[in-house]
Symmetry: C2
Subunit: 290 residues, 2 copies
């Protein structure tokens, strides 16, 4: 789930849903392909939903990326760099996506974008937004949880899409097509997690990993990690303990795609977000059922 | 776990343990790397254990293989084909491995080989042997279960390594270095599964997958699948039922690496193996603890 910090009240008209930003994350790929075959399933009365495949070459090869991680390539630096034939495919593709659904921050950009991912970590269904200043996505998360579309958790990233270069456009947030039309969002209180840092694996001097995620930590995403808890186990069997001085909440524990990024897990803070605003959506016409 | 059908009583002297036959299956890769750094951990009193990495180029790229699946390349056809520069890397590598630890079926071949793999299916720790005629590996499986080294299941493949081209050498089975020295194997009764076929995903006429593993089947490896049970769910939500006429036991359900092989799950029969032989191992000297 992607959005941006700005808030607005004008009606939205265009939503994009992408799968395969990472070419080996199958749920979004097959959903996007399904919607491309069956576009009526995404039709709504008051706005258009456009599915697309993020990284077709990586999907073809069933790999995360072919040149560089597309979801780290939507930065101003890459989007505005001079064209050159030796650029990785994903730089070219990021520009295409930005031209088609953006450009980021421009008036002609799509109003909202969902980007569908998988993780090998035990994180359940997870909604990732890029700023807690985005009120409506936060309400949406709460509504999705409330309506039991997901038994999931909300997760706040500390970095904006712009800084890290993930897919979201710099465009205002709007209501998910999943939500019942005319939903009144009550004041909400929502459990959320915010990335504060990342933990690498222990390594030998030559850089090779020397320990694995401790069996007691594996699959314990979003549960408290206290100082002194075992977090790694060397291949000889010794325990390595968490040396922080506060309780944190890890996520992306042992995510397979993050070995290359030197991340054994993300360190997170737990927050309870409360907002007293009530947001009434425009009462929309019923969706066409044709 | 790999072995061969022949049985013998002469002492064994050389065991090989490989990781990274598939370059993205990390457990065996890190174990083999660990043992290469710490060879004393594999030292035993009466036989030598040699760790090695199966597919270094695939490990480097963290992919299953770079040219073709190495674990389908140990066939006589590939091992004996004419040398040519345009051969996939894995054909060259299979020959190297066969020359170093085999050749298959020859007198100088290693006595036993473990090949360490991962699966994305919910199969627990799983011992795969290539023939139920291999008595000692069967006993070993039972002993491993009995000694609780694994909370696993035994799984019998219907194909021999030679036919499918997986790694095992054509050499006699011997006792695992994991088993206590001098273990007396009692007559055993062991639950085992034997592959009888494979089930592909439902597909559109153009070959694209049209349904996913049904949520009720996901993670239910080794549990009974009865005629009429839901096995797939189309992306529009329709259920597809199992149309067989007998109960089977699926495994490798939704294994990520088998999408390319057009396998949604392996169909298996459940067997109770019973053998009244008692096999007494040579009483071996205690392992050196240096």
């Amino acid at each position: 789930l992607c959005s941006s910090p700005s808030n607005r009240s004008r009606p939205l008209s265009r939503v994009a849903v992408s799968g395969g930003t990472h070419g080996n994350e199958m749920s979004g790929i097959y959903l996007a392909k399904h919607w491309l075959r069956n576009p009526m399933e995404l039709r709504r009365g008051s706005f258009a939903v456009t599915p697309f495949l993020g990284n077709p070459r990586a999907i073809e090869k069933c790999v995360r990326y072919v040149g560089r991680d597309l979801n780290r390539t939507f930065t101003t630096e890459f989007l505005s760099s001079a064209e050159a034939e030796d650029k990785p495919y994903e730089v070219v593709r990021a520009r295409e996506i930005n031209q088609t659904y953006g450009p980021k921050g421009s008036a002609q950009a799509f109003d909202f974008m969902f980007d569908l991912h998988n993780t090998t970590a035990n994180m359940g269904a997870c909604l990732i937004v890029d700023s807690e200043e985005s009120l409506l996505p936060m309400h949406m998360c709460e509504a999705l949880l409330q309506y039991k579309y997901f038994e999931g958790v909300t997760f706040l990233s500390s970095h904006s899409g712009g800084r890290q270069g993930s897919l979201p456009m710099q465009c205002p947030p709007i209501l998910s097509p999943l939500c019942p039309i005319g939903t009144v969002f009550p004041a909400f209180e929502i459990e959320a997690y915010k990335i504060t840092g990342r933990m690498d694996y222990p390594r030998y001097p030559d850089g090779e990993i020397s320990a694995m995620v401790h069996p007691k930590l594996q699959d314990k995403d979003f549960l408290p990690m206290n100082p002194g808890d075992p977090i790694f186990q060397t291949f000889s069997g010794e325990e390595i303990l968490y040396e922080g001085d506060t309780t944190i909440y890890p996520a992306f524990i042992n995510e397979a795609a993050y070995y290359e990024k030197k991340v054994a897990f993300a360190k997170m803070e737990k927050h309870i977000l409360f907002n007293s605003l009530k947001i009434l959506l425009h009462p929309l016409p019923a969706p066409r059922m044709d």
